[in-house]
Structure formats: C-alpha cells, structure tokens
Symmetry: C2
Subunit: 356 residues, 2 copies
C-alpha cells in the first residue's frame, strides 16, 4: 500500500467514526443488547417486538455488532446471541456506556460547529443547541441536558481518580491547603477527608460560588476545617498557604494562561511552598498508538467544553513550572494495570516546590 493509499484508507476509518459510534450506542439505547442478555437466541422479529422497532431495522443495526464479534448470528435460523459482549463485566460496560452517553449528548451535535468554535474561541455548539454562551461547565449548571450528559461521567471520573490522586502526594501535618478553582468545595472536602484531620483547606474560586461552597462544608460538618476565598486565578492567588492543588483545569486554559496561573501560584507561595497539578497529559511521543488523547481531547475541549485550551505533555508542564521558579519533585502516573482498556484519559500528578 502506497503512502497515499494509507492516508485514504485512514480517512475511511475516520469517515465511519460517527456512524460506528451511533450504531453501537443505539443498540444499547434501544435495549437490543439488554434483550439479548436476558434471553439468548432471539430473532430480529422477536427483538423488534421487545424494543419497539421494525425487525428490518434491528437486523441492520446488528450487522455491525456481528462484524465486530460482539454478537453472533446463527446462519441457519437467523437467531442472535451475545458473543464477546457477554464476557464484559457489567461495571465495565456501564462505565463505557456512560462515556458513550456523554459523547452522544455532549459532543455529537456540538462537534458539527468545531471549525466555528475554533475561529471564535467559544463553544458555538452550546449557543446553537441551547442558546447558551459560556463553557460546558457553566452550561451544566443551568441546562439539564448538559448536566445529564456530563454529571454521571464526572462522578465516574471522581470515583476512579481521587483515591489515586490523594495517594500520590503527601501533605505535612497542620498544613494550609488551597484548592485552586475548587468550585463547590467537593475537592476541599475530599482533601480534608483524605489528608486530615489537622489540615485547613480553603476552596479558591469566583466569589459567586461562596454560598454553595460554605453550605457544602456545613452539611459535611467541616466548617471548622474548610473555608472559602474568592478571586480570579488569572489575577492573583492568595498568600498564606503551604500547598496549592491545581486539579482538573490546567488543560482548560491556553498556554499563556497556564503560565500566568503558575506564576500567580509562585508569587503567592513562600519558598518551600508546594504545588500539586492533576491533569491529563499527551504522551511524550505524540505518535504513541496506544494513547487516544490526541484523538479525543482537541475536538472535545475546543468544540464542546471551552472553545480554548488543550492538553500538554508532562515535559511541557515541567518546563513551564521550572520557568516559573518551581522545582518539579515528581510526576506520578497511574499503574497501567489499573487503567481499563476503554480509558481515553491519562492523567498524571505533577508535584513541584518553590525554589528557595
């Protein structure tokens, strides 16, 4: 195969990306897979009656799943049974389906507007679909459909990421911790619960979040240990903290902004003060075929979430931290054995200390 043929063949893979995705998702969404899980050896007519669709359409949608070996069809009788899909544990399947549900509701239509989102630096899809101007995170607060698509995914990610995150760095006893861009205080609460009991944790975010945040601290009975400070991370960060946590957001900013945030953290910390960054990173070899983040994040972040921003390599964050006056003391990745085969996101924890 020539170079040109390889490119064209690869473009064909891309062309069928949207149809493959929705064909598979529709088989779950319509209940076809569930029906086959409950009863093996159903015909298209029986499946159609069960899920409320014409047998012809069920048969068409199942071609792809038979091609993939997910489902098998008996040639003589036409009856379907789960094949490889039967071997997937329910929790694994539910995790993958939660992700696919987010792609369907939170991305498929929005991606149509990707070129315009890139040109304008805003999520045009949110404006077109919901009349909403702002980021996907902001939309999730007011648009039920966006919250419905993203909420379950966020909860899955929280459950799989935080135990590992908090296990990957130490906080000195009695330290004052700032949870930068900490939102509604959930991160501060988890920090206290993981690293307490003698910590003081402060959520730093825009002032309008203060009331919700303090309410959450109170509900958890943590008002003595957790507090709120209002401000803008691109302006300045507050002084008086030993450790600053930057979780889940540096990839949502463009280069200049990330460097501004690192600079603001450096100015606010004392020598010896620490910064802990949790973020997905591109592999050092961008062509690494086992890493799927370049296949996902640019279009996701630019077209569906922020209209700006994007991942960097760990080495890039390291360089920016060092140029900002930090010394990087560790970069921790998850144990590959703990990463399921459907995972796209590959986060690291970067720890750094302000040079004396």
């Amino acid at each position: 195969m020539s170079n040109a043929e390889r490119v064209l063949a690869r473009m064909r893979e891309y062309m069928v990306g949207p149809t493959r995705f929705m064909n598979l998702f529709a088989c779950f969404e319509l209940g076809i897979v569930e029906a086959l899980r409950k009863e093996s050896g159903l015909t298209a007519a029986e499946l159609g009656a069960t899920v409320g669709a014409k047998p012809d359409a069920v048969e068409q949608l199942l071609y792809l799943l038979v091609k993939e070996g997910f489902v098998a069809q008996d040639e003589a009788t036409g009856r379907y049974t789960l094949a490889a899909l039967a071997d997937v544990a329910d929790a694994d399947l539910q995790r993958a389906l939660t992700f696919m549900g987010m792609v369907r509701t939170g991305m498929l239509r929005q991606l149509y507007y990707l070129p315009e989102s890139v040109r304008t630096g805003s999520v045009v899809g949110l404006k077109e679909l919901y009349g909403f101007e702002g980021t996907m995170f902001e939309a999730a607060a007011t648009v039920a459909e966006v919250r419905g698509a993203w909420g379950p995914l966020a909860r899955n990610e929280t459950a799989s990421v935080y135990p590992w995150f908090f296990g990957s760095f130490d906080v000195p006893a009695g330290a004052r911790v700032l949870d930068v861009q900490g939102g509604n205080g959930l991160g501060a609460i988890m920090t206290y619960q993981s690293k307490g009991p003698d910590l003081r944790v402060t959520t730093f975010d825009r002032p309008f979040l203060e009331a919700e945040c303090l309410r959450n601290f109170e509900e958890q009975g943590l008002s003595e240990h957790c507090s709120f400070a209002g401000g803008d991370i691109l302006e300045s960060l507050p002084t008086g903290y030993d450790v600053m946590l930057l979780k889940h957001f540096v990839d949502m900013y463009d280069k200049d902004d990330v460097r501004t945030i690192f600079g603001n953290a450096h100015r606010a910390l004392e020598p010896g003060g620490r910064i802990v960054v949790l973020a997905p990173v591109y592999p050092e070899d961008v062509a690494d075929p086992g890493d799927y983040q370049a296949d996902f994040f640019p279009a996701y972040i630019l077209g569906c979430v922020m209209g700006r921003g994007g991942l960097q390599k760990a080495s890039t964050y390291r360089r920016w931290l060092e140029e900002s006056g930090f010394e990087v003391t560790g970069v921790t990745a998850k144990d590959p054995a703990d990463i399921p085969a459907d995972a796209i996101i590959n986060r690291v924890v970067i720890s750094a200390v302000k040079r004396g």
Copy 2:
C-alpha cells in the same frame, strides 16, 4: 488481551470516532492543510494568523494529524510540514473531502436521533434540524443545506458508477427500457446515451416528477426517444417493456417492499424480459474486515436518509429474485483495482431474466 478487554478497547475506538472525524475535517475546513500545502514549515502562530484562529487551537488540532503521520512537526522549531498528506493526489483528496463534508452536514447531528429514527421509522434528525418530514432525498429538493451536503457526493458517485454500470450489461437493439424510480430522467438520458441510438427509454416515477422529467428530455433533444410513465413501484409497474433498470434504490426499502417491487417487475414483464439491479451489497462474510459498509450504511440509511431500509447480501437479492420467478444470469462487481482506498460503498449489478 482477554475477550472483555478486546471489546472495551474496540469501544474506545468507537468513542473517539466523532472527535477524530471532526478534528481532521476541521483542519481542512479551516484551511490549515491548504496553508501547509502552499507553504511548508509554518509555525502554529503563522498558521493561526493565516486561518484566523488562535495558535494554541491550531496546535491542538494538529496533534492528531501528527499522530497519524499526515503532518510532521519539527521538534526543535515547532514548524509543521505536510507529511503523508503531501503524497495524496488532489482529485483523491477532494473526493474524500466531499464524502467527509456530507458526513459532517448530512449526518453528524442527525445521527444523534438514530434511536428515535429507528423507533419511529422516520428520519427524526431532518425534522429536528429543518422541521422537514420525509426522506433525505425529498429534503434535498427543498432544504438548501441538505442539497449542498448531498449534491456534490451524488455527482461524484454518478461519475464513478455509471460508466461501469452501463458497461456491465447488454440491451438488445430496439429494446424498450423502463428506468424504475427514475426521478428527474437523468438515468433515462444516460441509458439512451450509453446504450442508444435505437432504444426507447421510459422513466417511471411518481406523477409529480413528469414535468421536470420531460423538460430534461427536451433540453437534451431526446423527446423522441425518452418518455415518462407515472405510478408507484409498490403498487404496480407498467407492461410493455423488455428491460427494467432498478438503480440505487432497493437498499432504501425494507425486505417486504423489495420483494413487492421484484414481484411487480415480474408481473409486468413478459417471459424472457430482464431486470438489472444496481445496489450496494454487504459482503457474503459479514465479518470481512475490508468491507466498511456495515460500519456506515445502517446508521446512515436509518438515521439520515430514509428511517427504514438497508443493504442486503448479493446472495439475498439473488434468492428473492429467484423466489419472485427470475433466473439470475450474472452478478458483476467492480474491479477491485478501480476502487480507491477511501471508498465505503461497494455496488454490484445483478442481472436476471423472467423464467419462461
């Protein structure tokens, strides 16, 4: 890798299908690839200035193209050059981009509604996007965006399919040919021009198409040789013809309807009368990894075009034809050497004769 891991890894491929597609398409749509074709060794800043986007966003979108080897980036300078993409002939690239443009405008948003389209047997996406109730072909007549997405693709397909189609069967001199579901008469005109000069060709379609059809015959100076007959292929087909052409539509009907159409053709023809079917077909081995039609057509036809219908195997059409009283005399596929590496559609010509 276990069975379950293989399924999950494959689901990951599906999850990144929509983002991969729009990321690549956006690089063409924004003019990034074109800028690199004109001038090699541009930085993200230079590309951003050229295409009207922030350099950070250009850099993000190009990660995937670098990963694919389509574009190369110099590590030291950050400058981009076309890599494998430079080897693709312009005509090939334009053909692939025309297809991708159709997927973007005619499918990406519509596919969101695939489950509902399957449940209702209608193209819900057309209703949601354009308030249009009907098929994509009908929408193309009135909705400019649909026509704009589908028209160029249809012209490409026409140019690549018809010379091969007309070369794959003979028509006796003086024969009366019926172009079943012949639309605006273009098929009849091409039939006459390919197989004339002593043919009489009649376009058969719904009566409202008569005026447009006759106008097209007149414009081509073919009013003496071409005519129109109005009707509904699911009701009956007219008698008095030697050959019936069924081009490009049996895959748009469900099983019962295709058999009705074959039956109607059989009733209308005399013994020895012939039927020529042009249609894409699934491979006999549905799991054939080199065939991409199961990856594309079910979601396309059900979710974006008709809300019903779908491809069959050539052996299925053969069986249905034989059960309808025809004898299949030939199944012709394109020479694989004539099929470009980006092609998804694989059509055959099935010729059959009414048994005496």
